[in-house]
């Protein structure tokens, strides 16, 4: 009795609401679209400004644009300091990424595989650097290197970055490992594989996309890192540090050109990581 009456009540509301519903829904959609457009503008207009001014043939960054030029890209490639900084950044980011992978992958596997006393603490300690401000990591590592009498150089920067990024790699790899059924390892052993063979033929291929994703992320984070680098670098500088130091004399069009190139490179990396994660999703359906 009561269900029947609520049913009819519902039907009548639906039919009454249909006509104004369409209009109000349209309005709501429009409002939402406007909000999204605003958000996108907030996120991307600065980048477009950067890109546009990198092709503007005036030294000053003022509106209106005066003309199109590729000169700034030319001066960029003849600026030895800038090129050295780019080279240093690649060296630091690549090394830090490799180092953090070498340490992070086994750490993630240990957390996943073994039960040991203090495991929860170990996990938190590894994940801590992600929440620590870079400035703290920077100062503390600076103190440590001083204490041990290390000279500051790009290598100390690499160590600093690898430490800060370890949590990124461990989190990514560990979460993938948790989704892998333990029976895969057991099946591999059951079929006659030794520990290293299981790692090489079963575990690693299933971690591949997670590792690549973590590596890309680490690389990008290391590439534009300033706080840790600020404290740990010696005479040589990385690209963000170089940009920062030249900015004191005002934004130059070369910097815009460098920025544009970085945006382009990031775009390529993003596309790669999206393709990778899509592949990972597809193969994960089978689990």
């Amino acid at each position: 009795m009561s269900t029947a009456s609520t049913d009819t009540a519902m039907i009548s509301t639906v039919s009454r609401a249909r006509k104004p519903g369409l209009v109000s829904r349209y309005a709501a959609d429009m409002a939402f679209m406007a909000f999204v457009a605003l958000l996108m503008a907030f996120l991307y207009v600065p980048i477009w400004v950067l890109i546009i001014f990198s092709f503007n043939d005036s030294r000053t960054l003022t509106w209106p644009l005066s003309g199109f030029t590729l000169d700034w890209y030319g001066t960029l490639f003849s600026n030895q300091d800038l090129l050295a900084a780019i080279g240093n950044s690649f060296y630091v980011a690549t090394s830090a990424t490799i180092l953090t992978l070498i340490v992070g992958i086994p750490a993630a596997m240990a957390i996943n595989k073994f039960q040991f006393p203090g495991k929860a603490l170990f996990r938190r300690l590894i994940l801590l650097p992600i929440t620590l401000p870079g400035i703290v990591t920077g100062i503390s590592m600076l103190n440590m290197f001083r204490l041990f009498g290390f000279n500051l150089s790009l290598e100390t920067v690499i160590l600093g970055h690898a430490t800060a990024l370890l949590s990124v790699v461990v989190t990514q790899v560990y979460s993938r490992l948790q989704r892998l059924p333990r029976s895969l390892d057991e099946a591999s052993a059951d079929l006659g594989a030794k520990g290293w063979q299981t790692f090489l033929y079963v575990t690693l291929p299933n971690l591949k996309t997670a590792i690549i994703g973590a590596a890309l992320l680490s690389f990008v984070l290391s590439f534009d890192e300033i706080p840790v680098t600020f404290f740990l670098t010696g005479r040589e500088n990385t690209l963000p540090m170089y940009i920062y130091s030249t900015m004191r004399r005002g934004v130059t069009p070369e910097i815009n050109a460098v920025g544009t190139l970085i945006v382009l490179a990031s775009l390529v990396l993003i596309v790669i990581s999206v393709i990778m994660s899509r592949e990972a999703n597809r193969s994960r359906q089978s689990l």
Binding site: L184, E186, D190, L191, R282, S283, S286
Partner: protein, 364 residues
């Protein structure tokens, strides 16, 4: 036949307190199909995993083909396992999955491929060789897992609830297929299941487990017709239990008082008069007796309380005169023929032959 695997007094204790497997000894003959049957937590999977080498017993010994393998790692044992979730490698094709175990043996790639093709033929999926596991259905994955395990021609094949992930129809079909596979390849199969039908249909021998111990070990027919304990009687099939008291003994049979009447049971062994016991009767061994007629055997009187139709037959709940209820199973043709008799509320007489009455110790 020689025994291919022997477990001697196996014990598994977790954390020093929780007993998973308790003094289990068993021996499996070469080529046998043995099933470990029991509810979850009875230790059957642990036992299987110990044979596979994924867990080590706290005490006891596992002998495989005359060699002590108790503490050998899985990759050094000549046994293979079909995992409950199949554990197919998601990044490899079906062919690569099957060849994996052969590659680990050091066989050249050409040979592994041809053996994989053979194994796929055996499970009836030769066209799937280049597909990935996620492109296959549950039943197909199950067959691939089977092919991957038997391609190494192990001494013993372990099956951990191999059919539990399949739906009912497919499960029934795979039961028969697995049994045929066992006959074809001649490898010893040890299966774990909680499904009694599966165990009865497929196995040469069933080992029923209860709380880490072996409750009974026998052929499916032995277990069904001569369960040694109420636990087994209830776990395999359904049994009506009635409290009873021994009235007298006469040679190979005993007269007890149960369900408000005198019942004769054919049993061996000593039973002192006046002893409180339990009798067990299978629902399908009870028959509706013609009213008034009192033939040979035992007769129970009661009233029909409920009838449950399940397609193949009819299950009738009968409340006996003294208050307890019994289940009576009849195949449908019979039940249909008697629609005039068993109506809800009507009084019925049930007959049971003395050799179908089992005697158990009283519940304490």
């Amino acid at each position: 036949m020689a025994s291919i695997i022997e477990l001697n007094d196996i014990r598994k204790v977790y954390g020093g307190v929780i007993v998973g497997v308790d003094h289990v000894s068993m021996s499996v003959e070469d080529g046998e199909f043995v099933t470990l049957l029991g509810p979850s937590g009875c230790g059957k999977s642990t036992l299987l995993r110990m044979i596979g080498g994924f867990e080590q017993p706290t005490a006891g010994q596992i002998v495989l083909a005359g060699r002590d393998v108790t503490y050998e790692p899985p990759h050094k044992r000549d046994v293979n396992m079909v995992f409950q979730d199949y554990a197919l490698f998601p990044h490899m094709t079906v062919g690569e999955n099957i060849s994996y175990g052969l590659r680990m043996m050091g066989l050249p790639r050409s040979e592994t491929r041809s053996k994989a093709v053979e194994a796929l033929d055996l499970v009836g999926l030769p066209e799937k060789i280049d597909q990935k596991p996620h492109e296959l259905s549950g039943g197909q994955r199950q067959r691939i897992a089977l092919a991957r395990a038997i391609v190494r021609n192990p001494k013993v094949l372990l099956l951990d609830e191999p059919l539990s992930a399949l739906d009912a129809n497919l499960r029934e079909q795979m039961q028969v297929e697995l049994k045929h596979m066992h006959e074809k390849v001649g490898i010893t199969f040890i299966m774990v299941t909680h499904d009694q039908t599966e165990a009865l249909v497929m196995s040469d021998r069933v080992i029923v487990m209860e709380k880490g111990r072996v409750a009974q070990d026998g052929t499916p027919a032995e277990l069904y017709d001569h369960p040694e304990t109420p636990y087994v009687a209830n776990f395999i099939g359904t049994t009506n239990f009635l409290p009873a008291r021994v009235l007298s003994r006469d040679g190979g049979s005993v007269v007890v008082e149960a369900g408000g009447t005198r019942i004769i049971a054919e049993v061996g062994g000593a039973l002192p008069e006046g002893e409180h016991i339990r009798i067990g009767i299978r629902p399908e061994k009870l028959h509706f007796a013609e009213s008034g007629a009192s033939g040979p055997g035992n007769t129970l009187e009661g009233r029909i309380e409920e009838q449950i139709y399940y397609g193949l037959g009819m299950r009738t709940v009968v409340r006996l005169a003294e208050g307890s209820t019994v289940l009576v199973d009849g195949l449908l043709p019979e039940a249909v023929a008697r629609t005039t008799l068993p109506e809800i509320g009507s009084n019925v007489r049930l007959s049971i032959a003395p050799h179908n009455v089992r005697v158990f110790a009283a519940e304490n």
